[in-house]
Homo-oligomer: 225 residues x 2
Amino acid sequence: MSVTQEQSAASYAPTERTTPTRAKERAAYDHALVHSILDETYLCHLGFVRDAAPVVLPTLYARVGERLYVHGSSGSRPLRMAGQQDPGLPVCLTVTHVDGLVLARSAFHHSINYRSVVVHGTAHQVTDSEEKRLALDAIVDHVVAGRAADSRAANAKELAATAVLRIDLSEVSAKVRAGGPVDEPEDMDLPHWAGVVPVQRGYGELLPSEDLADGIDVPPYLKGL
Amino acid sequence: MSVTQEQSAASYAPTERTTPTRAKERAAYDHALVHSILDETYLCHLGFVRDAAPVVLPTLYARVGERLYVHGSSGSRPLRMAGQQDPGLPVCLTVTHVDGLVLARSAFHHSINYRSVVVHGTAHQVTDSEEKRLALDAIVDHVVAGRAADSRAANAKELAATAVLRIDLSEVSAKVRAGGPVDEPEDMDLPHWAGVVPVQRGYGELLPSEDLADGIDVPPYLKGL
């Protein structure tokens, strides 16, 4: 494979709807960046159309290669709709990290440092039971790496009560804003503090279940969080 | 006003689309809870329909009473669409806080503690210049309380380059999951750690702009973050 082919294989082709109408310099399409943004969290906002109106629901997801999986109750609306619709349910899946508050001297230039990914595509219900099981493991492991193997696997009844949607990564864009405020030259001497307030995420002290059996230690994958 | 009237005035009336098909006990409609969830952050995911397909974009917002305001470039898609469409652009605006990872003994009962608000409505472009200015101040103050007064206000050119959408809080629901894992009775003795990993948000050390003029102290509203 030539270098050119490798480079081209490592980017999503921009489309009309993944090309921003403004701040085009913030848009990116390379796989590595998109994957890193998707893999850093487990919560997305999934949009779909119902009765001609938009619906946006928070949901858990995981990436496996060039596929995203989201899961939900078999009875929930988007899952039911994707199962009933052929060839699938048009969706837009968006993931956003806020990295900082950007305080400029002017109100107008205030901003947010963020990294986001927007995925346009079609959600299909996963019907293959092996793929479904792998997807559910991936979602659990996406929330806490190593956890799927340290829990009781779903039984047939539980698998039936869970629906999984698959969305291929094809029409995808990332958007990133980083760095400090960009003020107008004539505002530089105004007496307002300017800079960035970093936004941080983390985990608090573990809260074991009150009914946790004696002798169960905190597993290594939780100590490293 | 009677007690009944007061209580009724303090809740959003459920509609077909704000009534969940499952986990109904997690749904809530009272103003106080909805407002507290909306006021705790500044980033929402705004969904709208374009060419019959869903689009979900992260955007800043603020609540002023029973109205939400979102803003963006006058050239951005949803802002342009809302300005062109009469009677406005159907939207779904969703805000989600993740409070904890819920680790159950069984993979199936893994969950997330969260608080979310879903707002269905119609976005209208704000054309009144005074309302627009108040909305922009509210958005800046929603990100950092007290900041709007400590920055150079938008001039006419900047106001023209910014579009603001208004969405009334009317068809609104909150959803909350709290507490520890709920495992099946037969799983209680399995050797898997169970409990909650609290998720925390916070701010890092301030990063002043490199070109910040001498003698500008960190303002009190930032010290309290």
